[in-house]
Symmetry: C2
Subunit: 155 residues, 2 copies
DNA sequence: GAACAAGCTATAGTGACTACAGGGTCAACA
DNA sequence: TGTTGACCCTGTAGTCACTATAGCTTGTTC
Protein backbone atom coordinates (compact mmCIF):
# COMPACT_ATOMS: atom_id res chain seq x y z
CA UNK A 1 0.00 0.00 0.00
CA UNK A 2 1.22 3.51 -0.83
CA UNK A 3 1.37 6.39 1.58
CA UNK A 4 -1.95 7.90 0.48
CA UNK A 5 -3.76 4.62 1.09
CA UNK A 6 -2.15 4.23 4.48
CA UNK A 7 -3.22 7.77 5.28
CA UNK A 8 -6.81 7.04 4.34
CA UNK A 9 -6.81 3.73 6.21
CA UNK A 10 -5.69 5.39 9.43
CA UNK A 11 -7.08 8.91 9.07
CA UNK A 12 -3.61 10.41 8.96
CA UNK A 13 -2.35 13.14 6.61
CA UNK A 14 0.55 11.91 4.49
CA UNK A 15 2.81 14.71 5.73
CA UNK A 16 2.22 13.45 9.24
CA UNK A 17 3.18 9.90 8.25
CA UNK A 18 6.44 11.16 6.76
CA UNK A 19 6.96 13.22 9.90
CA UNK A 20 6.53 10.14 12.14
CA UNK A 21 9.07 8.33 9.97
CA UNK A 22 11.57 11.16 10.40
CA UNK A 23 10.92 11.09 14.15
CA UNK A 24 11.67 7.38 14.30
CA UNK A 25 8.15 6.28 15.33
CA UNK A 26 7.52 4.41 12.10
CA UNK A 27 10.22 2.18 10.58
CA UNK A 28 11.52 3.02 7.11
CA UNK A 29 9.26 1.30 4.58
CA UNK A 30 10.37 -0.46 1.40
CA UNK A 31 10.39 1.59 -1.80
CA UNK A 32 9.17 0.93 -5.33
CA UNK A 33 11.45 1.34 -8.32
CA UNK A 34 10.06 4.86 -8.63
CA UNK A 35 10.97 5.66 -5.00
CA UNK A 36 7.44 5.51 -3.60
CA UNK A 37 7.03 4.21 -0.06
CA UNK A 38 5.35 0.81 0.28
CA UNK A 39 3.64 -0.19 3.52
CA UNK A 40 2.28 -3.43 4.91
CA UNK A 41 -0.22 -4.38 7.62
CA UNK A 42 2.41 -4.01 10.32
CA UNK A 43 2.93 -0.39 9.44
CA UNK A 44 -0.82 0.26 9.46
CA UNK A 45 -1.18 -1.32 12.90
CA UNK A 46 1.72 0.63 14.33
CA UNK A 47 0.41 3.88 12.91
CA UNK A 48 -3.07 3.20 14.33
CA UNK A 49 -1.49 2.62 17.73
CA UNK A 50 0.33 5.93 17.47
CA UNK A 51 -2.78 7.79 16.39
CA UNK A 52 -4.84 6.26 19.17
CA UNK A 53 -2.24 7.40 21.69
CA UNK A 54 -2.19 10.87 20.15
CA UNK A 55 -5.97 11.06 20.42
CA UNK A 56 -5.37 10.49 24.14
CA UNK A 57 -3.04 13.46 23.96
CA UNK A 58 0.18 11.63 24.73
CA UNK A 59 3.40 13.22 23.54
CA UNK A 60 5.48 11.53 20.88
CA UNK A 61 8.04 10.80 23.59
CA UNK A 62 5.45 8.99 25.69
CA UNK A 63 4.36 7.07 22.61
CA UNK A 64 7.97 6.14 21.89
CA UNK A 65 8.12 4.64 25.38
CA UNK A 66 4.94 2.64 24.83
CA UNK A 67 6.23 1.42 21.49
CA UNK A 68 9.34 0.11 23.20
CA UNK A 69 7.11 -2.02 25.42
CA UNK A 70 5.17 -3.22 22.40
CA UNK A 71 8.45 -4.15 20.74
CA UNK A 72 9.57 -6.11 23.81
CA UNK A 73 6.52 -8.28 24.61
CA UNK A 74 8.34 -10.34 27.24
CA UNK A 75 9.20 -7.33 29.36
CA UNK A 76 7.27 -6.32 32.47
CA UNK A 77 4.65 -3.69 31.71
CA UNK A 78 4.91 -1.77 34.98
CA UNK A 79 6.36 1.19 33.08
CA UNK A 80 3.19 1.38 31.01
CA UNK A 81 1.08 1.74 34.13
CA UNK A 82 3.42 4.34 35.56
CA UNK A 83 3.36 6.37 32.35
CA UNK A 84 -0.40 6.29 32.16
CA UNK A 85 -0.81 7.26 35.81
CA UNK A 86 1.48 10.24 35.27
CA UNK A 87 -0.43 11.22 32.15
CA UNK A 88 -3.75 11.07 34.00
CA UNK A 89 -2.23 13.21 36.74
CA UNK A 90 -1.18 15.83 34.21
CA UNK A 91 -4.62 15.95 32.65
CA UNK A 92 -6.31 16.26 36.04
CA UNK A 93 -3.97 19.07 37.06
CA UNK A 94 -4.68 20.88 33.82
CA UNK A 95 -8.41 20.65 34.42
CA UNK A 96 -7.97 22.16 37.89
CA UNK A 97 -5.93 25.04 36.44
CA UNK A 98 -8.46 25.73 33.74
CA UNK A 99 -11.36 25.74 36.18
CA UNK A 100 -9.60 28.33 38.29
CA UNK A 101 -8.93 30.33 35.13
CA UNK A 102 -12.58 30.11 34.12
CA UNK A 103 -13.67 31.46 37.51
CA UNK A 104 -11.26 34.38 37.16
CA UNK A 105 -12.49 35.16 33.67
CA UNK A 106 -16.16 35.05 34.64
CA UNK A 107 -15.45 37.33 37.55
CA UNK A 108 -13.68 39.74 35.22
CA UNK A 109 -16.52 39.57 32.72
CA UNK A 110 -18.92 40.65 35.47
CA UNK A 111 -17.11 43.98 35.73
CA UNK A 112 -18.76 45.31 32.56
CA UNK A 113 -22.44 44.60 32.15
CA UNK A 114 -23.25 46.91 29.26
CA UNK A 115 -21.23 48.40 26.42
CA UNK A 116 -19.92 51.91 27.08
CA UNK A 117 -16.89 54.06 26.41
CA UNK A 118 -13.70 52.02 26.68
CA UNK A 119 -12.30 54.43 29.25
CA UNK A 120 -15.11 53.43 31.65
CA UNK A 121 -15.11 49.72 30.81
CA UNK A 122 -14.86 47.72 34.03
CA UNK A 123 -12.96 44.95 32.28
CA UNK A 124 -10.23 47.16 30.85
CA UNK A 125 -9.96 48.97 34.17
CA UNK A 126 -9.65 45.74 36.12
CA UNK A 127 -6.97 44.51 33.71
CA UNK A 128 -5.18 47.84 34.00
CA UNK A 129 -5.21 48.45 37.72
CA UNK A 130 -5.73 45.32 39.77
CA UNK A 131 -2.70 43.47 41.12
CA UNK A 132 -1.89 40.13 39.55
CA UNK A 133 -2.03 38.59 43.04
CA UNK A 134 -2.59 34.84 43.06
CA UNK A 135 -2.80 34.40 39.32
CA UNK A 136 0.03 32.22 38.12
CA UNK A 137 2.90 34.33 36.94
CA UNK A 138 3.08 34.44 33.18
CA UNK A 139 6.85 34.60 33.35
CA UNK A 140 6.75 30.84 33.63
CA UNK A 141 3.47 29.93 32.06
CA UNK A 142 2.59 26.31 32.43
CA UNK A 143 2.04 24.92 28.97
CA UNK A 144 0.37 21.97 27.41
CA UNK A 145 -2.03 19.47 28.77
CA UNK A 146 0.67 18.12 30.99
CA UNK A 147 1.11 21.21 33.01
CA UNK A 148 -0.87 24.27 32.44
CA UNK A 149 -2.55 26.76 30.34
CA UNK A 150 -0.70 28.53 27.56
CA UNK A 151 -0.31 26.64 24.33
CA UNK A 152 -0.02 26.98 20.62
CA UNK A 153 -3.27 27.93 18.94
CA UNK A 154 -4.65 27.01 15.62
CA UNK A 155 -7.69 29.23 15.89
CA UNK B 1 14.40 52.68 33.95
CA UNK B 2 16.43 50.09 32.05
CA UNK B 3 15.11 46.82 30.71
CA UNK B 4 16.31 44.76 33.66
CA UNK B 5 14.51 47.02 36.12
CA UNK B 6 11.34 46.91 34.06
CA UNK B 7 11.62 43.16 34.01
CA UNK B 8 11.91 42.99 37.79
CA UNK B 9 9.10 45.48 38.30
CA UNK B 10 6.70 43.41 36.20
CA UNK B 11 8.02 39.89 36.68
CA UNK B 12 8.96 39.60 33.02
CA UNK B 13 12.20 38.17 31.56
CA UNK B 14 14.08 40.74 29.52
CA UNK B 15 14.04 38.52 26.43
CA UNK B 16 10.26 38.52 26.66
CA UNK B 17 10.15 42.32 26.85
CA UNK B 18 12.27 42.58 23.72
CA UNK B 19 10.02 39.99 22.11
CA UNK B 20 6.89 42.04 22.88
CA UNK B 21 8.61 45.05 21.37
CA UNK B 22 9.36 43.13 18.17
CA UNK B 23 5.74 41.95 18.10
CA UNK B 24 4.46 45.50 18.34
CA UNK B 25 2.80 45.16 21.75
CA UNK B 26 5.19 47.57 23.44
CA UNK B 27 6.18 50.85 21.74
CA UNK B 28 9.84 51.43 20.93
CA UNK B 29 11.44 53.02 23.99
CA UNK B 30 13.96 55.84 24.00
CA UNK B 31 17.65 54.86 24.03
CA UNK B 32 20.63 56.06 26.00
CA UNK B 33 23.80 57.26 24.30
CA UNK B 34 25.08 53.70 24.72
CA UNK B 35 21.99 52.23 22.98
CA UNK B 36 20.31 50.90 26.13
CA UNK B 37 16.50 50.97 26.22
CA UNK B 38 14.94 53.50 28.64
CA UNK B 39 11.41 52.98 29.90
CA UNK B 40 8.91 55.14 31.76
CA UNK B 41 5.82 54.49 33.87
CA UNK B 42 3.65 54.21 30.76
CA UNK B 43 5.69 51.29 29.52
CA UNK B 44 5.51 49.56 32.89
CA UNK B 45 1.73 49.94 33.01
CA UNK B 46 1.30 48.65 29.49
CA UNK B 47 3.55 45.69 30.16
CA UNK B 48 1.65 44.86 33.36
CA UNK B 49 -1.58 44.93 31.37
CA UNK B 50 -0.11 42.53 28.85
CA UNK B 51 1.20 40.18 31.52
CA UNK B 52 -2.13 40.20 33.34
CA UNK B 53 -3.88 39.25 30.10
CA UNK B 54 -1.31 36.51 29.47
CA UNK B 55 -1.90 35.13 32.96
CA UNK B 56 -5.53 34.81 31.84
CA UNK B 57 -4.17 32.86 28.89
CA UNK B 58 -5.14 35.29 26.17
CA UNK B 59 -3.20 35.12 22.93
CA UNK B 60 -1.01 38.03 21.89
CA UNK B 61 -3.55 38.71 19.14
CA UNK B 62 -6.35 39.02 21.67
CA UNK B 63 -4.18 41.29 23.76
CA UNK B 64 -3.43 43.41 20.71
CA UNK B 65 -7.18 43.88 20.31
CA UNK B 66 -7.63 44.90 23.94
CA UNK B 67 -4.72 47.33 23.66
CA UNK B 68 -6.44 48.98 20.72
CA UNK B 69 -9.43 49.65 22.96
CA UNK B 70 -7.17 51.00 25.68
CA UNK B 71 -5.57 53.29 23.12
CA UNK B 72 -8.98 54.57 22.00
CA UNK B 73 -10.70 55.40 25.29
CA UNK B 74 -13.66 57.11 23.62
CA UNK B 75 -14.63 54.04 21.64
CA UNK B 76 -17.43 51.70 22.62
CA UNK B 77 -16.15 48.71 24.58
CA UNK B 78 -18.60 46.14 23.23
CA UNK B 79 -15.72 44.40 21.45
CA UNK B 80 -14.02 43.84 24.79
CA UNK B 81 -17.05 42.03 26.11
CA UNK B 82 -17.36 39.97 22.96
CA UNK B 83 -13.69 38.98 23.08
CA UNK B 84 -13.91 37.97 26.72
CA UNK B 85 -17.09 35.96 26.17
CA UNK B 86 -15.41 34.09 23.34
CA UNK B 87 -12.35 33.46 25.48
CA UNK B 88 -14.48 32.09 28.31
CA UNK B 89 -16.25 29.87 25.81
CA UNK B 90 -12.94 28.47 24.61
CA UNK B 91 -11.77 27.73 28.14
CA UNK B 92 -15.06 26.05 29.02
CA UNK B 93 -14.92 23.91 25.89
CA UNK B 94 -11.37 22.89 26.69
CA UNK B 95 -12.39 21.82 30.17
CA UNK B 96 -15.16 19.67 28.73
CA UNK B 97 -12.72 18.04 26.31
CA UNK B 98 -10.20 17.33 29.02
CA UNK B 99 -12.80 15.80 31.32
CA UNK B 100 -13.84 13.43 28.56
CA UNK B 101 -10.18 12.62 27.99
CA UNK B 102 -9.65 11.95 31.67
CA UNK B 103 -12.56 9.51 31.71
CA UNK B 104 -11.12 7.69 28.71
CA UNK B 105 -7.69 7.48 30.30
CA UNK B 106 -9.00 6.19 33.63
CA UNK B 107 -11.00 3.57 31.81
CA UNK B 108 -7.90 2.54 29.89
CA UNK B 109 -5.86 2.45 33.08
CA UNK B 110 -8.37 0.00 34.53
CA UNK B 111 -7.45 -2.54 31.86
CA UNK B 112 -4.20 -3.45 33.62
CA UNK B 113 -4.37 -3.86 37.38
CA UNK B 114 -1.03 -5.50 38.05
CA UNK B 115 2.30 -5.50 36.26
CA UNK B 116 2.85 -8.45 33.93
CA UNK B 117 4.44 -9.27 30.60
CA UNK B 118 3.88 -6.49 28.11
CA UNK B 119 2.31 -8.91 25.65
CA UNK B 120 -0.54 -9.49 28.13
CA UNK B 121 -0.86 -5.89 29.30
CA UNK B 122 -4.47 -4.80 29.01
CA UNK B 123 -3.48 -1.22 28.31
CA UNK B 124 -1.19 -2.02 25.40
CA UNK B 125 -3.77 -4.43 24.03
CA UNK B 126 -6.56 -1.90 24.25
CA UNK B 127 -4.39 0.69 22.53
CA UNK B 128 -3.49 -1.85 19.85
CA UNK B 129 -6.84 -3.35 19.03
CA UNK B 130 -9.78 -1.16 19.99
CA UNK B 131 -11.30 1.14 17.41
CA UNK B 132 -10.72 4.84 17.86
CA UNK B 133 -14.51 5.30 17.74
CA UNK B 134 -15.72 8.53 19.29
CA UNK B 135 -12.32 9.81 20.31
CA UNK B 136 -11.54 12.96 18.44
CA UNK B 137 -9.48 12.22 15.37
CA UNK B 138 -5.88 13.19 15.90
CA UNK B 139 -5.61 14.16 12.25
CA UNK B 140 -7.02 17.49 13.28
CA UNK B 141 -6.13 17.71 16.92
CA UNK B 142 -7.69 20.65 18.63
CA UNK B 143 -4.88 22.68 20.13
CA UNK B 144 -4.48 25.24 22.81
CA UNK B 145 -6.80 26.40 25.49
CA UNK B 146 -9.06 27.87 22.88
CA UNK B 147 -10.01 24.67 21.26
CA UNK B 148 -8.79 21.36 22.44
CA UNK B 149 -6.22 19.13 23.77
CA UNK B 150 -2.87 18.79 22.05
CA UNK B 151 -0.35 21.49 22.77
CA UNK B 152 3.28 22.27 23.10
CA UNK B 153 4.89 20.82 26.18
CA UNK B 154 7.66 22.10 28.30
CA UNK B 155 7.81 19.06 30.54
C1' DG C 1 43.10 48.93 33.97
C1' DA C 2 40.71 44.75 34.95
C1' DA C 3 36.78 42.24 36.35
C1' DC C 4 32.04 41.67 36.16
C1' DA C 5 27.08 42.63 35.58
C1' DA C 6 24.02 44.02 32.45
C1' DG C 7 22.91 45.47 28.00
C1' DC C 8 22.84 44.83 22.67
C1' DT C 9 21.64 42.11 18.03
C1' DA C 10 20.88 38.04 15.55
C1' DT C 11 19.81 33.39 15.23
C1' DA C 12 18.07 28.85 16.44
C1' DG C 13 15.32 25.80 19.23
C1' DT C 14 10.81 24.08 21.48
C1' DG C 15 6.21 20.31 19.82
C1' DA C 16 3.68 18.28 16.54
C1' DC C 17 2.61 19.13 12.87
C1' DT C 18 1.22 21.99 8.31
C1' DA C 19 2.11 24.19 4.02
C1' DC C 20 4.48 25.28 0.47
C1' DA C 21 8.00 25.04 -3.84
C1' DG C 22 9.73 22.56 -7.33
C1' DG C 23 10.24 18.58 -9.05
C1' DG C 24 9.31 13.12 -10.37
C1' DT C 25 6.10 8.83 -11.24
C1' DC C 26 2.32 6.50 -13.07
C1' DA C 27 -2.26 5.23 -14.98
C1' DA C 28 -5.84 6.55 -18.06
C1' DC C 29 -7.46 8.50 -22.08
C1' DA C 30 -7.33 10.93 -27.00
C1' DT D 1 2.50 8.79 -28.76
C1' DG D 2 1.34 12.62 -26.16
C1' DT D 3 -0.81 14.72 -22.42
C1' DT D 4 -3.55 15.35 -18.56
C1' DG D 5 -4.03 14.88 -13.72
C1' DA D 6 -3.58 12.40 -9.43
C1' DC D 7 -0.34 11.08 -6.62
C1' DC D 8 4.39 10.91 -4.85
C1' DC D 9 9.23 12.77 -3.64
C1' DT D 10 12.67 16.00 -0.90
C1' DG D 11 13.59 20.05 1.44
C1' DT D 12 12.46 24.11 3.72
C1' DA D 13 9.75 27.40 6.31
C1' DG D 14 5.91 28.61 9.18
C1' DT D 15 2.90 28.07 13.47
C1' DC D 16 2.92 30.21 19.01
C1' DA D 17 5.01 32.52 22.73
C1' DC D 18 8.62 32.44 24.22
C1' DT D 19 13.68 30.65 25.63
C1' DA D 20 18.50 30.08 24.97
C1' DT D 21 22.73 30.79 22.94
C1' DA D 22 26.79 33.26 20.72
C1' DG D 23 29.44 37.05 20.32
C1' DC D 24 29.69 41.52 21.08
C1' DT D 25 29.37 46.49 23.75
C1' DT D 26 28.40 49.45 27.81
C1' DG D 27 28.75 50.78 32.44
C1' DT D 28 30.13 50.28 37.28
C1' DT D 29 33.26 49.06 40.86
C1' DC D 30 37.64 48.06 42.75
Amino acid sequence: MKIGELGKATGTPVETIRYYEREGLLPFPARTAGNFRVYGEGHAERLSFIRRCRSLDMTLDEIRTLLRFKDAPAENCLGVNVLLDAHIGHVAARIRDLRALERQLRNLRGQCREAREAVHCGILNELSHLPEKDAERPGSPARGVHAGVGASRSC
